[in-house]
């Protein structure tokens, strides 16, 4: 078998059915997600957009298996992941890239990337070989022996995406991964993610509150309402791939942007008004 390039499996259909999540801190019920339904096809790049604190991350955490849900069901390729009363289990078939990054600072880039394969039972040498070929495929081989603390935020995010992909997950869950990055860095990391996506064609569940980012990256853009989160609109973004940054100045892009802006602005205004009420 050719060892140069990793083979990627297919699959990754996510079905979210009537999911509700109620938080209960200090006996006060907070409805975070309200009767939310969404279907994501295998290999689809789904971007979920909504105002800050709307419950997007709650949904992602439920898919990841970090917490349970109050009612409804989530399936991955027909397998039940999440249901009320079921303690969910995270797994390497759904890997999360976190908002602030979660590369292990005590491991080098290479050790971070080999971590997944090693704990899943592959030998050190196998893991190392696979990691090195993936890192060179992504142009990251030069920094293999660096610690994350020595890298820029853009570089760290690239490594983290590589660390996820080496496990051949069915779904990649990204929780506002490029938040707090400057526009230039963001542009570069976007291109990196798109290249990686075009290569592996994994299902992507990407959360953001940046509309431009959503339109540029996604195939399906899901706009959520303000808390409690449910699906407000789904927009199919049919720009061909591979996409380049020039897309952002095309007529069709600007039209879509206007449409999405209107939908989101309405929700943001509601969220703002609700905040005002809470303060009053």
């Amino acid at each position: 078998m050719a060892a140069e390039s990793q083979q990627y499996s297919s699959g990754g259909a996510i079905s979210i059915r009537n999911v509700t999540k109620v938080y209960d801190p200090d006996g006060v019920n907070v409805l975070a997600v309200d009767n939310c339904s969404l279907d994501i096809a295998p290999g689809e790049f789904c971007v979920v957009v909504g105002p800050s604190g709307c419950g997007k991350t709650t949904l992602l955490n439920a898919i990841a298996g970090f917490h349970d849900i109050s009612s409804g069901e989530i399936h991955l390729d027909g397998k039940l992941l999440c249901r009320a009363g079921l303690t969910p289990e995270p797994g390497a078939d759904r890997i999360v890239v976190f908002q602030n990054g979660a590369l292990f600072p005590w491991y080098t880039v290479l050790q971070n990337v080999t971590y997944g394969p090693e704990v899943q039972g592959r030998t050190k040498n196998e893991a190392k070989g696979a990691a090195m070929s993936l890192l060179s495929e992504f142009g990251l081989a030069d920094i293999a022996d660096h610690y994350p603390g020595e890298l820029s935020s853009g570089m760290r995010r690239r490594v983290e995406i590589a660390r996820a992909l080496i496990n051949d997950p069915r779904v990649l869950l990204l929780d506002e991964p490029f938040r707090a990055m400057d526009a230039l860095t963001k542009g570069v990391v976007h291109e990196f993610l798109l290249q990686a996506y075009d290569r592996v064609k994994k299902t992507v569940f990407f959360i953001t509150h940046d509309l431009e980012e959503a339109l540029f990256l996604g195939t399906k853009v899901v706009i959520m309402t303000t808390r409690p989160a449910k699906v407000k609109t789904v927009i199919n973004v049919d720009f061909p791939r591979p996409r380049s940054f020039r897309l952002r100045s095309s007529q069709r892009y600007l039209e879509l942007k206007e449409m999405v802006f209107d939908a989101v602005h309405e929700e943001a205004a509601k969220a703002f008004a609700a905040g005002e009420r809470e303060l009053a």
Binding site: W106, V119, R163
Partner: protein, 263 residues
């Protein structure tokens, strides 16, 4: 990494910080010396630096002076190592296991405020030999600091790392050995460095009362015998011994956690 950067070293040695530090020590010594000759209150009662240095010139060649050093070092090492062997696993166990935490925490918190000095009589009664009771008092000095640092460090691990690890398919033992342990390592070394400092504070108390040798014993017996310059030499020796041991631990910590220097 291990090569010496001479330019940087020279810059560090001949820096303003070093000049100021040297000057302040020099002024202190001068005032102290002057105070002695002018028979100033308080300062005048202490042996002058010149007397101390005069005695030091003889004493560095006396073998029993160095035996006191090695006796104290042995005791400190025994108590300190015992505190690590028991304290680090206990701290980790309390961090990852709620039952262990709930059970051990109240007992620790009751014992912790008791000064090691207050343990001296009890430990003389409990332990069969003088050496073991001294080592026990030293052990107590380091033990609580170690446990609390390890516990705090392990409990402070960012949940992102734990979630990322679980998401990547970790088993519980992977979480412990590959996440909790390395993430806690810097706190373990902080606990060690602080604990080491406390053991040297405690060794004096322990040796004053129960010892027949050691730097603490040297200091106390010099007082009883009226050899005042020797008191100062004993005090400074303990200071240097503590500084050297803590520096060694910090150095080991830096080597064991190379990623720490980046933050």
């Amino acid at each position: 990494m291990a090569t010496i950067n001479w330019k940087k070293l020279r810059k560090a040695v001949f820096s303003k910080t070093v000049y100021r530090g040297t000057a302040s020590i020099a002024v202190l010594l001068a005032l102290w010396e002057l105070g002695r000759w002018l028979r100033m209150p308080i300062l005048g009662a202490a042996p002058a630096p010149s007397e101390v240095i005069f005695l030091l010139r003889e004493i560095v060649f006396a073998p029993d002076f160095w035996e006191n050093w090695s006796a104290s070092f042995k005791r400190v090492l025994t108590g300190f190592v015992a505190a690590q062997i028991i304290g680090i696993p206990l701290g980790l166990a309390m961090a990852i296991n709620r039952v262990a935490r709930d059970t051990a925490f109240p007992v620790l918190e009751i014992m912790r405020p008791i000064p090691p000095l207050a343990w001296v009589p009890a430990s003389i009664i409990f332990w069969p030999t003088t050496e073991s009771s001294i080592a026990f008092v030293i052990f107590l000095g380091a033990f609580f600091t170690v446990v609390l640092n390890v516990l705090g460090g392990a409990r402070d691990i960012d949940v992102r790392y734990l979630r990322a690890a679980r998401s990547l398919g970790s088993r519980p033992q992977d979480i412990f050995f590959k996440i909790v342990l390395p993430a806690t390592l810097p706190s373990i070394f902080t606990g060690m460095a602080v604990g080491m400092g406390i053991t040297w504070e405690v060794v004096v108390a322990a040796e004053m009362i129960a010892g027949k040798s050691g730097l603490g014993y040297l200091t106390w017996s010099s007082y009883v015998g009226g050899n005042y310059p020797l008191i100062v030499i004993g005090m400074i020796s303990i200071g240097i011994a503590g500084y050297v041991s803590s520096s060694l631990i910090r150095l080991t910590g830096k080597l064991a956690a190379p990623w720490q220097r980046l933050f």
